[in-house]
Symmetry: C2
Subunit: 295 residues, 2 copies
């Protein structure tokens, strides 16, 4: 059976998939990190492991194309070089793009449109007439609007403000408990010891509280979804008419939190009623099956 290979090479790990032309995953393998800006030899090594493993399990002659999306490759600027290296090494046509472009290709299924990612961090991408755009995504200190990290941070800030004002707040006790603290001051100390992923993981618990009817938690989700909608609208403003109607939602916050996603879409539809949302929960390696549509 003919197949293509899609490889998502990111900062924490690499996922390689062999896929049919309808996106069915025939084989999948993972390896260590693959940010080429942070570790070029390591990325070459790990990508070699990925492709070698796939070709040990799938007939190499049936592979029609390999598409690799690599974190950091926009900055290093050596996509062509990497593609040539693997094309020669494995005797199969390899193309290399950035991991963001691969996410866009997968999220939009080869069409023009907008991709909103809100997981630990957040970023908004757009594509129109073969041109890629980006809004936000400046990291936890300068951006990450509407991300899981920001949801937790805003919950903490909200609880601390209530504490400072001697006001009741339904988030104070849960946050103290989640952070294994005995009081709010200790909760702050514990918060500063967490890494970004651990901070972000608390957002799911805040979403649970919101689902159970906690109005403070709901308000924080609405505020963050609204702020993220502002960034999406900022990107859409830069499209030429007619604007692409497709918007794809990716990342844990948008995939798992229906209330949050619907709030975000409502804010966008308020300005652009014709825009339609799609949830992306597949690995971005699947972007490989849409490669032809972008050529």
């Amino acid at each position: 059976m003919k197949y293509v290979i899609g490889v998502d090479s990111g900062g924490t790990h690499i996922v390689g998939q062999a896929l049919t032309d309808t996106g069915k995953v025939l084989f999948e393998t993972q390896s260590g990190p693959g940010n080429i800006l942070l570790d070029e030899p390591g990325t070459y090594r790990n990508l070699t492991t990925i492709l070698t493993t796939i070709f040990e399990n799938m007939p190499q002659a049936d592979c029609q194309h390999v598409l690799i999306g690599i974190a950091g490759v926009e900055t290093t600027g050596n996509a062509t070089e990497v593609a040539n290296y693997f094309t020669k090494k494995f005797e199969v046509k390899v193309d290399v793009i950035s991991d963001a472009q691969l996410a866009l290709l997968n999220g939009l299924e080869g069409e023009d449109g907008t991709l909103v990612i809100a997981g630990t961090g957040s970023v908004v991408y757009g594509r129109q007439n073969k041109k890629m755009m980006r809004y936000g995504g400046w990291g936890f200190l300068l951006g990450d609007t509407g991300s899981a990290y920001k949801i937790t941070a805003e919950a903490m800030i909200n609880a601390l403000k209530a504490h400072d004002l001697n006001q009741a707040n339904s988030l104070i006790e849960p946050l103290i408990n989640w952070l294994n603290a005995t009081n709010i001051k200790q909760a702050v100390q514990k918060y500063y010891q967490l890494n970004r992923k651990d901070v972000a993981s608390l957002a799911a618990k805040i979403a649970e509280l919101a689902e159970e009817g906690d109005q403070t938690a709901q308000r924080i989700l609405i505020e963050q979804a609204t702020a993220l909608a502002g960034e999406v609208l900022g990107l859409i403003k830069q499209y030429q008419a007619p604007i692409p109607e497709r918007i794809a939602f990716s990342g844990s916050v948008l995939v798992h939190n229906d209330f949050y996603r619907e709030t975000l879409l409502q804010q966008i539809n308020h300005v652009y009623p014709e825009i339609k949302g799609h949830v992306v929960s597949t690995n971005n390696g699947r972007g490989a099956i849409f490669w032809e549509e972008w050529q």
Copy 2:
């Protein structure tokens, strides 16, 4: 000449001063860090150095009182123990309070009132009827409203938003230059490599731009001063009537930036016209001369 000793024992260094009853500094010495929560033996050691040095230079018999304000002592809870240790060791009456209380004592000159500190970070303290209050001060991830750190961060966020919207922004070029970068993306990378103090140090440059008439810089300063005023008003709300009319301003942002400080005071006076501002630029060791007024 009779004198008192005031010692400000903080996270980066300790300053010890011998002072006349009008606050004239007769002798001053510095030593290494003195946060007792982070390093108890080191703090004992460095405080011993401070007092030994002073008594090598000033007649010990003329010393009437020693007041030490120590960072972290609220959490460790051993102020009395530390005071007893040094009272016995140097045969002079020693009292120990927190560095925040010492700042309050110095800033308010022994009266009731509010102390706003905005340097690298920010915090608002209040004192009324022997009771101390606090608002904010939850650090750079959860607080530091109106601080130098926040002014720089907001300038970056503002510039990045304009960049994302393809809009002109007068802060983009200066920020790129100050961060020794060649473009905005690299400026963000450099920003993430800075420590908090280095980030905060850029606030003075933003203040210079504001003074030269840059409206974006002015707006950022106004926004941060307004946000900090919100915290001050949050603290004042908790006073009992009649509210203390004194407000003291401390920290580099409030001491050096007249425009910022006046904006802050205007916002407060808008609600409480009777409140009067004072700038505190003395070392907090001077708080020692007001100790009797708090007893």
